[in-house]
């Protein structure tokens, strides 16, 4: 199932961030971040820990409230307006580092929970969609198992299916493979690649440079709450502009 624009053409801005700022007490987590993400784009965000990458994507779906600046998602501005917040959240799916599957529900129940309770789908429809999604992420046979019975890679794939069940236009990934054992990283990245190929708008915070090189349309570098570098993967990895970008790359490559 494909949702959102299938092509990378079109000047349609899915996400517009203008001078976004966020403080936690004394600490400036985001210091005026501005960027656009177009429909169908795959944007990868890298940077050292504490640089604000997670905070940034969490402000997009209101898991954190930005203090200043503007965020516009698919034409809707993200403010304290409760109606806007709910609409925006229903267009964005999120995948977390620690999966956050609901342990007391089966895989099928995890995936159908939100569609049935937020979009009010009948059980049958929700389960059909869920089954298709499970096939898409490659684990249709696990439908009736419980999260504790699955491996980390399988759990994360279920988490992706769960987010997709709400038919979002944007998918956010917060270090999706950081908590996985090495042998399971590939299966999750494969699913993400397939997702990208179908034209989903994605923002991925990750350390997986291979994925960035292969799949990203743009790579963003965050450091100390600022967006320092924004380039295509080629330019980013071979010819970074900023000093700190070069420093970071030298440490991880």
């Amino acid at each position: 199932m494909t949702h959102g624009n299938g092509e990378h053409t079109g000047a349609h801005d899915m996400i517009v961030a203008e001078d976004v700022r966020k403080r936690f007490g004394d600490f400036d987590a985001l210091r005026g971040v501005s960027t656009n993400v177009r429909a169908g784009e795959v944007v990868v965000i890298v940077g050292p820990s504490g640089s604000g990458k997670s905070t940034f994507i969490r402000t997009i779906n209101r898991l954190e409230r930005h203090d200043d600046g503007r965020i516009v998602v698919d034409g809707i501005e993200l403010t304290d307006d409760i109606r806007n917040i709910e609409k925006i959240r229903s267009e964005i799916g999120m995948v977390f580092q620690s999966f956050n599957l609901f342990p007391h529900l089966s895989v099928m129940e995890n995936i159908t929970l939100a569609p049935r309770n937020v979009r009010r789908w009948p059980k049958k429809k929700a389960e059909e969609v869920a089954t298709q999604l499970l096939e898409r992420v490659g684990i249709p046979e696990q439908a009736n198992k419980y999260p504790a019975q699955l491996s980390g890679g399988q759990q994360q794939r279920v988490a992706i299916a769960r987010a997709l069940a709400m038919q979002p236009k944007i998918m956010l990934f917060d270090e999706p493979t950081s908590a996985l054992d090495p042998e399971m990283i590939k299966e999750v990245l494969d699913v993400m690649k397939e997702l990208a190929n179908t034209g989903m708008t994605m923002i991925v915070v990750t350390h997986e440079i291979g994925f960035a090189r292969e799949v990203a349309d743009r790579v963003l570098f965050f450091d100390s709450g600022e967006l320092l570098e924004d380039a295509t993967p080629d330019k980013f990895f071979t010819n970074p502009q900023h000093e700190r970008t070069k420093l970071f790359l030298s440490q991880i490559l």
Partner: protein, 427 residues
């Protein structure tokens, strides 16, 4: 055992490792590792040597302790079987259980007992018998059942009551059979609703349709009913208080915290004084003074709610923050998040603490005696004040104490087994 080994084992035991020592390996001097004696079956003599007489100090302790326990047991048996006069129990058995309930209305009570017995049997039958009934458990139950039978034969006079009691056992058995055979057809939710419906039904049967006024209610039945009412009614209130206390709205949090801390800081007796003397004055003038037992139920419910609130709060704290986040990211509204994601996880982890709280609450129902309600303890005291039973106060009280003890102890044991099961379970 060599000297070094013995010291090693003793010192480990002193530090509380005795449960772990059996089967552990103990190094032998230079000869490599050897399994501890616990792995091989011990003869009684070996066991006695290890546990009772392992050293001079230990042996002295055993002898002294042995004398003390032997003497105590002897005195106990002498009292129970020889010097005590148990007629007071025989005469008062019914009032111990049901107070001044009129004889012609007893059928209502029996009806309720049968209904609950059936439900309980079905519930037990539906649950999978995950753990086989071990021989040791059966062996442990035999003396208990034997004692119960003895008491029953002594106390009960009429054939009718014997038959009714036997009928209760039969009905429970039938329930278990029903549960086992139709287990798959019965949905968990249906059973839960049945239990929830049973509770007002019982009140209905006992009180209404020509039932008995609550001024005549008394005995152990009152302890049970007040405990169950309090626990059931306090549950939703407690959950709300806990959510309020943990919530992000400061005024509601302030309110919840204060209610919880003030009620928790007061002894139950103080709350009962409040219930009996102040609560009626707080009602609008039109309503007359409700009977003491209703006031007591309100107080017990309030009292229980704050403890439930604290237990639920602990459970809520145990749910990972990520669960909230994932649910919010999916777009679920707050009340659905609580109902579908957070509370099911939180409450499951609180089950042992809830049971423990219920046991305490049940024991606390004895305090109804202090506000002139004729529950079990007060019945026992009253029995010994009757003509002809002066000086038999101990014989009057001990069976009451034993009844409380049996219920509390059984629930505690059941809770331990439940904890083990929950730990092993898949969810």
């Amino acid at each position: 055992m060599s000297g070094t080994e013995r010291e090693l084992r003793e010192s480990q035991m002193v530090l509380g490792l005795e449960e772990e020592v059996v089967g552990a390996t103990i190094p032998d001097e230079g000869l490599g590792l050897r399994a501890a004696p616990g792995k091989e079956p011990q003869t009684p003599a070996e066991w006695a040597k290890a546990n009772l007489f392992s050293g001079p100090f230990n042996s002295v302790v055993t002898i002294v302790a042995g004398f003390v326990s032997a003497w105590t047991l002897y005195q106990l048996f002498k009292y129970v079987f020889i010097s005590a006069d148990w007629t007071i129990l025989k005469v008062n058995a019914r009032s111990y259980m049901t107070g001044r309930w009129p004889l012609e209305q007893m059928w209502r009570i029996w009806l309720c007992i049968y209904g609950i017995g059936l439900l309980a049997g079905i519930a037990r039958g539906v649950l999978p018998l995950r753990f086989a009934i071990s021989r040791r458990r059966v062996a442990g139950l035999v003396p208990v059942l034997g004692f119960a039978l003895l008491v029953e034969l002594y106390v009960v006079d009429t054939l009718l009551v014997h038959a009714l009691l036997a009928g209760v056992v039969a009905v429970i058995g039938i329930g278990v059979w029903i549960g086992c055979t139709f287990g798959s057809a019965i949905k968990g939710k249906a059973l839960l609703y049945a239990w929830i419906a049973a509770f007002p039904l019982v009140i209905l049967v006992l009180r209404f349709f020509g039932g008995v006024s609550e001024r005549l209610w008394g005995g152990f039945m009152v302890n049970l009913i007040v405990a169950v009412v309090a626990i059931v009614a306090s549950f939703p209130i407690g959950v709300l208080l806990a959510l309020g206390r943990r919530g992000s709205l400061p005024i509601i949090r302030l309110f919840s915290v204060n209610v919880i801390e003030i009620v928790r800081g007061a002894p139950l007796y103080t709350l009962l004084i409040f219930g009996v003397f102040v609560l009626p004055l707080m009602l609008p003038p039109g309503i007359g003074k409700p009977p003491n037992i209703i006031l007591a139920m309100i107080v017990f419910t309030l009292f229980s709610s704050v403890y439930v609130a604290e237990i639920v709060r602990g459970g809520l704290q145990g749910v990972h923050e990520g669960q909230y986040e994932a649910a919010r990211a999916l777009g679920l509204p707050v009340r659905k998040i609580m109902r579908l994601v957070i509370l099911p996880q939180a409450l499951r982890s609180t089950i042992p603490a809830m049971i423990s709280h219920f046991i305490s609450l049940f024991k606390d129902t004895s305090l109804l005696a202090t506000i002139a309600i004729l529950e079990l303890l007060r019945q026992a005291r009253r029995a010994s004040a009757a003509l002809g039973f002066a000086g038999k106060s101990l014989e009057a009280l001990l069976p009451a104490a034993l009844l409380f003890w049996i219920v509390a102890f059984s629930m505690a044991r059941w809770s331990q087994r439940l904890e083990k099961r929950l730990g092993v379970g898949e969810r």
